[in-house]
Symmetry: C2
Subunit: 605 residues, 2 copies
Amino acid sequence: MFIIDFEPVGRRGECFEDQSLLDCARRLNVDLVSLCGGARTCGRCKIQLISGTLSQPTREERQFLSERELEQNFRLACQSFPQSNVKIYVPPASLTAPQRTQVEGLNLEVAPEPPFRNLEVQLNPPSLGSPESDDQNLWKALHARYGIAPGAIDLKVQQSLSPQLRNSNWSVRAALRDREIVALSARSTRWLGLAADIGTTKIAAYLLDMENGRTLGSKGLMNPQISYGEDVVSRIAAAGKSPENAAKLQALVVDALNEVTSQLCADIQADPSDIVEAVIVGNTAIHHLFLRLPVQQLGLSPYVPAIRSAVDIKARDLGLRIAPGGYVHLLPNIAGYVGADHVAMLLATRVDQYDGVTLAVDIGTNTEICLNSNGRMTSVSCASGPAFEGAHIKYGMRAAPGAIEHVRLSGEKMELQVIGGAPPVGICGSGFLDLVAQLRLANALDGSGRLVNHPLVHIQDGMREIVLVERPGSDAITISQKDVRELQLAKAAIRLGIRALVELEGLTEDKIERIFIAGAFGTFIDIESAIVIGMLPALPLERFQQVGNAAGTGARLALISQTMRAQARQIALRDRYIELACIPNFNRKFAEASLIDRGLTTATN
Amino acid sequence: MFIIDFEPVGRRGECFEDQSLLDCARRLNVDLVSLCGGARTCGRCKIQLISGTLSQPTREERQFLSERELEQNFRLACQSFPQSNVKIYVPPASLTAPQRTQVEGLNLEVAPEPPFRNLEVQLNPPSLGSPESDDQNLWKALHARYGIAPGAIDLKVQQSLSPQLRNSNWSVRAALRDREIVALSARSTRWLGLAADIGTTKIAAYLLDMENGRTLGSKGLMNPQISYGEDVVSRIAAAGKSPENAAKLQALVVDALNEVTSQLCADIQADPSDIVEAVIVGNTAIHHLFLRLPVQQLGLSPYVPAIRSAVDIKARDLGLRIAPGGYVHLLPNIAGYVGADHVAMLLATRVDQYDGVTLAVDIGTNTEICLNSNGRMTSVSCASGPAFEGAHIKYGMRAAPGAIEHVRLSGEKMELQVIGGAPPVGICGSGFLDLVAQLRLANALDGSGRLVNHPLVHIQDGMREIVLVERPGSDAITISQKDVRELQLAKAAIRLGIRALVELEGLTEDKIERIFIAGAFGTFIDIESAIVIGMLPALPLERFQQVGNAAGTGARLALISQTMRAQARQIALRDRYIELACIPNFNRKFAEASLIDRGLTTATN
């Protein structure tokens, strides 16, 4: 009997050598994806061996896993048996939704280099003979120990300085940012940082230790602005209607951030006032709404941002409750529809650092794509819409318990993976993608996206549809022709963006050497399904890397490292923006991009 | 017939050559002081000839005016007759109260050198082909015209940038402070500045043109904090009682400043948002209350300030309504009871620039004194109390209409100057000072301050008193022995402070080569009376200079000149503070200083 350690979910337990890791995972409530239920036919339960020994890979595994995956010790959990204590990494794509959030992303691999210095000093109490003022006493001690010349002290720190010195027995630590003391605390606390990726639909928040750069906690939540419109265009319109609306839109996000920050701090017995710096990323509209910048000009040609440069703002000026003197840093924007979140994604994936041809696609309600072709970086923005979040799809839903997240056709039998193992109530984006791909492979759908005569296709109220789940006493869960059309529009926008960038460089899609797929949705889709429906180009699977919430990772990198902030500024300067609507033959190309066809030619022009 | 121009009151009118300037002033409602009513006996109606010709000085004038005054074209208005069109300067001390406020002071004689640059640029509107963001468009234009590298933009300026550019046809002026754009406006406006001296009792506010340094308006008002205590000690106690009290004390001053700022702006058809910088001075407690700094430690030994250094704070952080991105600069403090107002006074009088022995006395509810003895500057603070404002005196009142402001004994007849020419209702500080001096000269009062047997001294309810004005059907206006004692305490504190500084340097008072008397009260007192009662040392009158609200002047200098701010920092570093209560033989010396005796020896130690 061996000890099995599942990371990063942090489950640990015993396993006999004749039990598969899938069995073990189930017993330990690690919600591994398994469409076939262990029948060795779906190839979805991918895990990675970190340490220890497993049984030899089977023939089926060699079939489902690429050469590179095998080299990297990827395995299928249903066919792996422990031969020692082992440590297992479960990639986000192999977890069902309850254990995956929009916060997961690449690990941070930079040395902490925070935007402030931590200074610890012991002061001499004043006396009638030496009635030193509290500020000069502090600067004197800082000069004596660190050689620092007197600078500024934030007003809120000034206001707490005198009692704080007296309560801490004249022994304190100060955070010096540029030449300003932005926080003061007792010697025993540590400085924290907050990173947040504010998406159109979801917010991911991270709490970090600013000294060692570790992520201490993270949480995902919905963006409450959604009550003012599900896409940025409708929110721009709402904010433009009245200053009260604009104020409300800002307050909604700030309140949500304050709430999640409180929770993250409570989880580690810390206080929000220990947070001395925050980095926020979001698309340009979200960025502008957060800063209460005007957004009207974002909605009108030539769609210019009010502010592109990175900015540092006192958190209190935005209502964000961290250390009273702390700053919020916002990464730079690139264009009206390519924002700071895109810069953060590029920072995290290091797209700018590669030679050759690299593509990064951040799929969301709005999808931003960047191509780095031998050093020339160009980005485009595509209005992919909220279909991937389940909106505008009759039985569509978000990736929540009860959502069908993966589908596989075995003959005419539907194999469904439902989040939380609950009875299905709808279908989320990744499931819908699988379904359409499986229908295309089964020829129930033609290349134009039309449901054809096929045993799986029924006609209901004059419209063709597919029944996913019959529910006695309730309506069946179905997908209609109209639903398929919604998906086609969404995926066409993405594919068109990829093609536009590639063609601008005089290349074809097959020249792309690596593709990063970012965003919560992008992380959990089946790349093969995305290729089958023509959303992504038909390239070898090894070229794809699903990187999770890369914008969140980028925000964390910028939070803990000044070098990363400088790099983000360089990225924003280097990256050229093109307007998708301005490309030649837009309509014809959009129609081509909407085909459900992996063979989509890239040569037409 | 000639044209007579009275400055700075700004009255202008005609005068025959056989009319005295006093007659002319009365006709034009210039409220010149005249105790004797033109009988040539009081010598109070001093004016200064700026241009034009007057009749030759009379024998009486030569008697009342010093050599230096005659050289400087000082005259008595009652004995001066025009021989051409003339321009006349009326010094504050020669105006009765309705035309004098606490705002008058020395003229500003420095070149404007504001803490920001005024930049005017024309931008190119963005287009689809060049979709420049508004911030980068602005920086590009600033770089092209002025070679300025991109810096920061205040959040509130960011928030107004986009509509402002579009409303002004892409033509704007910006105020760049350090590397931050703190204000943006249409090309047609001018940048204004606000200077304020917040006294314990009164506030003086000034509106300046930041480009040419001119004072555009000024107003005096009461400090509304007075409802929380008439001296700083009681306000410190009030603020210490609860955070609500402290917040209220701050809000009272800020509301008053916002109100007076609105009025000052309305007077010149400007808007408070045109004010891009403010300088505030006050004593250390006032300074701390204004910044919401803790004040408890000011009330406890060793009485240290929380903050001594000069600080720059966003006005909005204090609730001050000027340009949303504008800063408030506060001059440095020196000690717990020697504050930024003292530094401002020293800056305005240039005490630090003199060789030899120079003294500066800023008389107020708290009196600060500085001695510069051959380059060594030392200051002391004296709790002179509110007696000079009329408090704790039975018929005492502030210098307002109906107050007896000057008194002269002609035999046993009282000659009274009443503010506004109204029936007298009480006596203000300068009148009380005159009265006590006159009583001492008439031997109705002995050197210890005791009212003695004398035709002027009556006994009422067992206490000796002086009747100033009989009012049929109403109580007489009187001064009692108790009132005299109050004045003795107040003046003793000041005299003791002067002596302590002089003795610390091993000097005697007669070595003082020049004495600046600052503060509204100090400006309007009769120096001779102050010498007679032993409040000021018995030195030749030429050594005294009454400089009005020098703290207000210092605030204005620091507002318009960065060199002056640097000089203020130097003054605060150079000036050494001594604790009056710590001097040797304090009690004996205080008793000596309370004597009503111009011959007070300075040699005892």
